[in-house]
Subunit: 541 residues, 2 copies
Amino acid sequence: MTTGTDRTGDEPKPDETAIPVVEMRRPRWGDPARVTELPAAAAALAGDATEDRGVPPESITPRESTLPAAVRADLEAVVGAGYVAASDDERVQHTRGYSTPDLLRLRAGDAVDAPDLVIYPADHDEVVRILQVCAAAKVAVVPFTGGTSVVGGLAPDRAGFAGVLSLDLRRLDRLVEIDEVSRVATLQAGLRGSAAEALLRDRGWTLGHFPQSYEGAGIGGYAATRSAGQSSAGYGRFDEMVEGLVLATPRGTLDFGTAPRSAAGPDLRQLILGSEGAFGVITGVRVRIRPVPATRLFDGWRFDSFADGATALRRLAQDGPLPTVIRLSDEVETAINLADPAQRGGDSTGCLVITGYEGGDQEVRRRRDAASEVLVDAGGTALGSGHGESWRTGRFAGPYLRDPLLDAGVLVETLETVTYWSKLHELRASVTAAITDTLTASGTPPLVMCHISHVYASGASLYFTVVAPLGADPIAEWASAKTAANNAIRAAGASITHHHAVGRDHRDAYHDEIGPLALDALRAVKATVDPDGVCNPGILI
Amino acid sequence: MTTGTDRTGDEPKPDETAIPVVEMRRPRWGDPARVTELPAAAAALAGDATEDRGVPPESITPRESTLPAAVRADLEAVVGAGYVAASDDERVQHTRGYSTPDLLRLRAGDAVDAPDLVIYPADHDEVVRILQVCAAAKVAVVPFTGGTSVVGGLAPDRAGFAGVLSLDLRRLDRLVEIDEVSRVATLQAGLRGSAAEALLRDRGWTLGHFPQSYEGAGIGGYAATRSAGQSSAGYGRFDEMVEGLVLATPRGTLDFGTAPRSAAGPDLRQLILGSEGAFGVITGVRVRIRPVPATRLFDGWRFDSFADGATALRRLAQDGPLPTVIRLSDEVETAINLADPAQRGGDSTGCLVITGYEGGDQEVRRRRDAASEVLVDAGGTALGSGHGESWRTGRFAGPYLRDPLLDAGVLVETLETVTYWSKLHELRASVTAAITDTLTASGTPPLVMCHISHVYASGASLYFTVVAPLGADPIAEWASAKTAANNAIRAAGASITHHHAVGRDHRDAYHDEIGPLALDALRAVKATVDPDGVCNPGILI
């Protein structure tokens, strides 16, 4: 058969699991040693604005701590005085997450949401004891692994609380056990994703979970927010990888999933996955692992339209075979991406599809051949592996661009949703219009790009990237656009989030999505495990 | 390549989706028009006992109804007087489920658990109003679709309640909608599985959910108990098929899953799936459907030992390709099954594996070839498609055997569990020993058979069939054996159920499995949606 794909570039490229664990410095993304120049296409967006990097974080003084000294002493008694920190720098570096409004606030010197204290427990039992101290003292507790929330998940309510504690899990960084027969690894929640992959890779295993936040995010955050990685078609979403998990609550420990695929009652793992710290702190997970793939092949494809490309993705999702990675950019995103000279090929019309296959050599080639047959039959034109490899090796570069764009006066932000296939195009149109109309009305007309990056038999995610000039009050302007987008999403019956979670930014839309009786039920669960309401108050619930 | 399988018998056989919807008559299983003769192997177990069919159900008089007349009038006002029933026969036919103790009790004329009244609502709104009437009057409500529970799910607590109402959903029997693009069907909960398949097949679709209770069980029951069908490897468990569901509670309606694969908060569908009527009544589901397969191929394989067969199944589950159906019988079950002259082939040593493949013709043949390669490599000997087709066409015959065996003085009962692959063999040994030792001590030494019928990357189910002479007090004797088995399961860290659910029979073990804090959380949810506690009281929680 003819797959239409070339075979140059089949040689494995540097592996993203070898990416070093970096210490980010808010408000900028990623490895501070890495200098990111704006590519030509991005520089064109920026125009000739003067570069402005904002207030340096080390010069920001957060609000005065409200935490009573006696509470601090109690906390020090749990972890040791060396493992609590109240320096300005540590407080600022635990302030909010990585949404564009979060960055804009910190760039403006606003650290009003800084925690009063940062604590670094050594193990699960210390986490339970910290929660008990905080419950007794009415101190709000924010679990912190990577700190990469883009939905306000790290900025709890302060009103009514004696203070806010950032509970940083970085010392819970062990690969505890690998059950090689069952292919299940027990990981502590404070491990960064990249650190977990490095530990697993030394033993021949991988999680295969590579969200765009991979360099920053942690295992506990993945679980608490139902993270989905770029290889979700092949490896599953993070919530599908979790066989079991352990939650520390002010009332003690919950440990679910001692056996896989139980039918005993509600699936209580699913009550903790996505709970975003509102029920307590996830301290460990038992997750599915797979052998490090022997072969990785990535291809590019061109479709005439987003609709044609979406139909092709749907066919693969419904009838197989499914690649490990599959994504479709719309016309705007395709044109922007392919305008970059670093991307091969001259044709920037139509819609770009990236397919990736990982696994055993023979199985990967079989799957690629069969999927390629479907893509050709659905109207796709093979662009060869150059586009695919270019996407793969550049997959974590995107977030690095946001900082120099902001420096140059360009707002970049993303949002995402998920719906059934039958409603997908209507949803894309209505969200695009909502954002475009709102930002145009406020004098900052945007460019709105969209891609599908996660497909299921019944539906797919839509991920929007919005680029616009920074206006006079960009936080308020974006808030209006975001509200309009949320309203369009809810009006279409879609979900307010496919993988960014709820936090406080999506809270109202989430409550609309689940309805008041379900919200009552969640509040009842919270009141049971967290009767004093100190666990990430104002987030989710 | 050589698969080792023959290709005779590739012609499609009669399709189980064409099985008629039968009206069962408790305490006997299945189509009353179907006469089941004991096969030779089963007759040998029975020995020369005198046949005893027990008390005819039509001659049983249930306890006097305790339901106040005013409540009955209120219920009649909701559904119409023609849709409530209090005849002895209808009450007896809604008494308990289909566990062997349930059958023994009814065969002995014991209908102490009969509901006071049976009600047949027309739609979701009537169900909500019934629940509100019952909440106000403190009447316990048992949802009833197929009535095939084997864990006491239909026998709620009566103490403290003004009566017990069986809420029979059979009038909610519509295929409401098919979204062909998204491959999602909306089904009302009162549809029997076989009726749903017939409706879907007329439009070219299938659920692919075929539990052994297929002839009796209903859609609502599948969802409420996390049912798993025999084709779970290919089509998924029922809980995996559910994209969304609607629950009627005394406080109104919950509707979850308006979009697929949301990351917005806990997955609330998973709180309702497996809730067994304790939170309300599931009245409809949105479920994944697939095209009726063009091709079905079933094969038999022989492995020298259960351990060898389990390793082969694990390889397929972890590295693929996974058949649509895959099961492994241990030595005892293999010997019993293959002793039946209806089964082809003379060799009844070793362990029988059945593999089935359903789908498009080319895809099925590719998958079968690739899986057969793995099975050969893992030490399997192909037995040809005869054994496979024999299993497929006889797959729903098993439950019909239990009644004539009981008539002949032979107790048959099943139980099941699930664990990680690394713990599987130890679990099988300890459960087998627990049952064998207990029943031997009570003077009724059993034959204990086991099979694996559901496999996952991380683990597998174990399904035990126990055959023993009926002793002097078979209910008590079985209860002791069951308790011993439950203790062995819990001691091994396995789950108390893989697909039979909790009911009241597994309640204590379930509470041990999830722990007291999780139980508190579930009670808080129940108190929220069912503040008067009338929804299937004593079941699950």
